[in-house]
Symmetry: C2
Subunit: 356 residues, 2 copies
């Protein structure tokens, strides 16, 4: 069966400030040694199984030019601009109706644009297993990540290790971000996976479930679909999106539908959730520093230092994140990266939009 992909690239992350800005979110940044941006890597990763003309990018009009310039191989009509953000269910629905206009039915991969995967071959093998399961019946497959520690920042998937379909396990339920104690229990039971937000299903399966569990959204999506290619397309899209309920695909569909399966992935997944991820995904030197730019370190250990042309000299530092850009420099203790958002709050309060 034909495989299509929807890459979700509408996020406006603040956690990579000052590199990430309102007009340059994380998915368009290069954080790896190879110089490619997150969204370029996402497309490259699936390029052997999905044709370029079958890859759709869901974003918003502010980022359309970024998508176009970073992904010149993607047809412009495949760049779907949501008029307003309505969370993942309407976004995925929009992708699905576009694809269904083109193909009677097809496999649809849904992928975030700002995660990293270390072992691409293993990832493709998990995708293949997922496609096999998704082709049957109206199965909805979510790719789970085998947890390596008791993370409290992710949602979890409880699966039933006794009920398999191919390489997939039947999903019992989705659970929200747990406390540390609960996360530790999850890890011990070996029956919980991290919810990665990557999905595999047929167009017919997801549309069936949208109609069933989100009928109003589905009706709107059908009106959008009917307008594709007509002069009214933009108006209809704007009108319908304005009325959509903001809903995640997890709440809207996955927690309610039957036939939910998960394929566990151990392909070196990283959601690149903060500057600390840079240490995992890039090579550190013999002092434990991950360094780029014009840097001199003296007695400096386990620091992440991202500079540009300007000289940055560090003396006697430990466990810091230092990020220099043309107009702003961040210096942050590694254990305080969650507080970078307070800098942004401060900037917003002071109307210093040029830095946001």
């Amino acid at each position: 069966m034909k495989i299509t992909a929807l890459i979700m690239a509408g996020g406006r992350g603040e956690r990579f400030w000052p590199k990430s800005r309102k007009n340059m979110p994380k998915q368009f940044l290069s954080l790896t040694d190879d110089g490619k941006t997150m969204i370029q890597l996402t497309v490259e990763r699936i390029s052997s199984v999905v044709d370029m003309e079958d890859i759709y990018i869901a974003t918003n009009k502010d980022y359309k030019e970024l998508v176009r310039s970073q992904l010149p191989g993607i047809p412009e009509k495949n760049i779907l601009c949501e008029p307003v953000g309505r969370n993942t269910a309407p976004c995925i629905g929009l992708g699905a109706v576009h694809m269904a206009k083109k193909y009677d039915d097809a496999i649809m991969l849904v992928l975030p644009s700002d995660h990293l995967i270390k072992f691409n071959k293993m990832f493709l093998s998990v995708l293949k297993d997922s496609c096999d399961v998704a082709e049957k019946d109206r199965n909805l497959v979510t790719i789970g990540i085998t947890p390596t520690y008791a993370e409290t920042g992710y949602g979890y998937i409880k699966f039933d290790s006794h009920v398999m379909e191919g390489r997939a396990y039947k999903v019992d339920r989705f659970v929200e971000k747990p406390s540390l104690e609960v996360a530790k229990e999850y890890l011990e039971t070996e029956e919980y996976l991290w919810n990665s937000g990557m999905f595999v299903w047929k167009l017919s399966s997801i549309l069936y479930n949208l109609e069933r569990f989100m009928p109003e959204t589905f009706a709107g999506l059908k009106r959008i679909q009917a307008s594709i290619g007509t002069p009214e397309e933009e108006d209809v899209l704007r009108k319908e999106f304005a009325q959509f309920q903001s809903q995640s695909i997890d709440y809207g569909i996955m927690e309610k539908a039957e036939n939910i399966y998960t394929v566990p992935g151990t392909f070196g997944w990283d959601d690149v959730g903060s500057w600390l991820a840079v240490e995992r995904i890039r090579k550190s030197n013999e002092m434990g520093n991950v360094v780029s730019g014009n840097i001199i370190t003296v007695g400096t250990h386990n620091c992440i230092i991202q500079g540009e042309k300007k000289l940055i000299a560090t003396v006697g530092l430990e466990d810091l994140v230092i990020v220099d850009t043309e107009d702003a420099t961040l210096i942050c203790a590694k254990d305080s990266t969650a507080d970078i958002k307070k800098v942004l709050e401060n900037l917003k309060i002071c109307n210093r939009d040029e830095y946001i």
Copy 2:
């Protein structure tokens, strides 16, 4: 008796990098809240007791323009440029022969250009006491600083608390930078002062002692004096300085001469020896930070942050020195400021002169 002053401004300190550079040493920087540079403050401090035309600045030709622009009130002929650095004895001798060309005799104050003094009135009172002692016989007066802790980075003056001349004590001997243990003993005896490098004497007294203890230098200085105002002045200066032995006034004169007195000063002296001094001389905010520039701090305590236009955001930091300039940024742990010189060594090795 007429009072003249020689301000020594030839230093090329590295400890205020990246603000201080080879072409912008510490004495020309503004490190206080009032925006005045160290050398401007030095001149201002004595302006009520020394006429502008009697203030001489000893520096080198690289800094002549800086002196001229920062001290427009000083006559240009009073800016004495040493052709090569030969330590303080030849420098002071050069000042003395210039002054002796103008006055038969006068009091000569010798002052560093890069120290700070908090209580100017007390300082002037100590100067007056010193002048009173210096006017008598051939007394040489050094201003000692009452130590407040066991500093190992300064030389000390051992005085005889039983032999006084006016407000001055007779000096027993000068001692070099002590170990911590020895410095603690010095502090306990209450008979040691810090050697501040500030001197008061008559021109006739210092010239007499130069002739006695450094006869070759003295002879050269006399030849320089004879050439002042002649077309040969620059040539003679260059030739004589090249032959002078490099010698500090402490070794060359003070440790050998008789009639050495010291007036203890408790006028809030600070040699501004490193970035840490900024914390002592500028106001810190309620978080213990001393901040200037375009700065946002989140969870940041006891840091010194000197920025310019560029935004610097700090998150979760403690006890750091952050200094941003147009082309270089320093981030240094407070307990590692002594290692800033290693950054400069690295820059020298790599021939990156633009940053030095």
